[in-house]
């Protein structure tokens, strides 16, 4: 009996023909081989936190929920191999138990590790890369039903493709991560007028391991968050009011509990363009959107990397994200702001709302064709693609040529 599937925010809802929950790699291989023989298509889902239709299908949806937990670790080498479906919240606890930690986390930790890697999620910190950059090895079932294993040493180009691949190269079963020794952070949260925050933005970004701020359109105030080693305690911010502070292990301190469901659009901009873009966004929101939008906008930073489809490919980034309660319309709000984000060279977050397709995306990614070549080699029939991904990658257009 087909079962309706809904994502985290509720904005994506569809009914797959089948939802498969394989218990192990052998079962997954059998499922994929059977699907290939039957000419079916397969999409893979982690925690369902993305709100673009990456996993939408009327055919076969494969859940990774049985592929969970830390399977191997090497504390000296600071690596761990974990099930691809492991939720980040659980992963943080389990890595801590073996004295390891992810270098950084996003604002929430409800995602599955393979989904987080596949869509390029990130936290904030000028020197910190997106989470995908920690991927140094993987096992996956390809579209032909073959179980393959890649490592950074043996398949460096393929790893650059796999780090942000939207689940289109194969279905990951395990991922091997380059980690940090478990570490503690001291988080402080401040309230300031947004103009004061912008006046001090450069030093806030430079002087803190992690820094981000939320801007509240209706009050024009900002909540600033700084996180540093407890030993490297920073001086007070004279222009801001301290709201809260907490110290503890990184996996407990970085993410926040979010009970309110929302939809979100986020673009990564060249870091230098961040302040000017934010000012334009702020002006537009104040002029047009304060009537219906009460939710904050989030400003973050992250370091450059070399993954083919990373939003940070070869450039340090500022990300600006817009939020709207999931019970309210978001389309007109996001559509009005998206051109501003694009005008500054923005690349959209793969798992959050945006309207770009292949024609707009291809010029943003210098290694677009290298990625597509690897994807085509692994999945020539498009078993792992849905309609959205075909449009996103321009598969139909290319076939017509």
């Amino acid at each position: 009996m087909p079962t309706e599937w809904t994502n985290w925010s509720g904005s994506l809802c569809f009914t797959p023909n089948t939802i498969a929950v394989p218990a192990d790699e052998d079962e997954l291989v059998a499922i994929v081989r059977h699907a290939a023989l039957a000419g079916r298509t397969v999409r893979v889902v982690g925690a369902g936190h993305s709100s673009t239709p990456l996993v939408e299908t009327s055919d076969l949806l494969v859940s990774l929920e049985q592929f969970s937990g830390v399977l191997e670790h090497n504390t000296a080498a600071r690596t761990a191999t974990v099930g691809a479906g492991t939720r980040l919240h659980a992963l943080g606890k389990q890595l801590h138990a073996v004295e390891l930690a992810l270098e950084n986390l996003g604002d929430v930790d409800v995602q599955a590790i393979a989904g987080a890697i596949g869509t390029g999620i990130h936290g904030s910190g000028k020197t910190l890369k997106i989470l995908s950059s920690q991927l140094v090895g993987l096992r996956m079932v390809t579209a032909s039903g073959e179980l393959v294993e890649w490592t950074e040493q043996e398949q460096p180009e393929e790893l650059r493709a796999a780090r942000v691949a939207l689940g289109t190269l194969g279905i990951f079963t395990t991922v091997t991560l380059q980690l940090q020794p478990a570490f503690q952070l001291h988080r402080r949260e401040w309230c300031a007028h947004v103009e004061d925050a912008l006046d001090h933005l450069e030093q806030l970004v430079e002087q803190n391991r992690n820094f981000d701020f939320y801007w509240y359109p209706r009050s024009d105030e900002a909540k600033l968050r700084t996180m540093n080693s407890p030993e490297a305690r920073q001086p007070d911010l004279a222009f801001a009011r301290l709201l809260d502070e907490q110290a503890g292990w990184s996996h407990e301190i970085i993410p926040k509990q979010r009970t309110l469901r929302f939809d979100e659009m986020e673009y990564a901009l060249p870091a230098d363009a961040g302040p000017a873009c934010f000012r334009d966004i702020r002006q537009r929101v104040k002029a047009k959107w304060r009537r219906s939008v009460g939710w904050r906008l989030l400003y973050r930073t992250s370091a450059a990397d070399d993954s083919f489809l990373s939003t940070n490919y070869e450039r340090s980034s500022v990300t600006i994200s817009l939020h709207q309660n999931n019970s309210l319309p978001y389309q007109a709000y996001f559509a009005d702001l998206e051109p501003i984000l694009r005008a500054y060279g923005g690349r959209p977050h793969w798992g959050k709302k945006h309207t770009l397709l292949a024609a707009e995306l291809r010029p943003l990614y210098p290694c677009w064709e290298q990625f597509q070549h690897i994807r085509q080699r692994l999945d020539p029939q498009g078993l792992l693609l849905n309609t959205y991904l075909r449009d996103l990658f321009g598969i139909d257009q290319e076939a017509l040529r």
């Binding site: 007028h193 009050s219 024009d220 304060r290 219906s292 309660n325």
Partner: protein
């Protein structure tokens, strides 16, 4: 020591957040506020339900007023489950687990000559 005073249920039939403001934010941002006094010895767990002229109510919004404290809550800042829309007629029902006193105020700064109005909310039983 002061004991709890007021009522557990209050209504504010008037409600309207002007969408435009004059002057620096947030001090002069047009807003509506519920000033909630909890004079008693126990924290007040307060829920707010917003009523509209043309659609179903939204809420509850949850706030806590600690014992022997006051909270000046701007309706502009409510966002869970939804922001209260500006330039829209609404009313509010405020309910607490302990007696509280509620006063309503609005700053309308659409023109530079600011307007401030205030009234005590309507208590609904004890």
């Amino acid at each position: 020591m002061t004991g709890a005073i007021g009522a557990r249920r209050w209504a504010i039939a008037e409600g309207y957040i002007p969408g435009q403001s004059t002057g620096p934010a947030p001090q002069f941002t047009s807003h509506e506020a519920a000033c909630i006094l909890n004079a008693g010895p126990a924290d007040a767990h307060v829920t707010i339900t917003i009523f509209f002229s043309d659609r179903d109510p939204v809420g509850p919004y949850h706030v806590t007023v600690p014992a022997r404290r006051t909270l000046h809550l701007r309706f502009n800042d409510l966002d869970n489950p939804e922001p209260v829309p500006c330039d829209t007629d609404y009313a509010s029902l405020i309910e607490s687990n302990v007696p509280i006193v509620v006063q309503h105020s609005r700053l309308d700064s659409r023109q530079a000559e600011n307007a401030l109005l205030t009234t005590v909310a309507y208590p609904v039983g004890g």
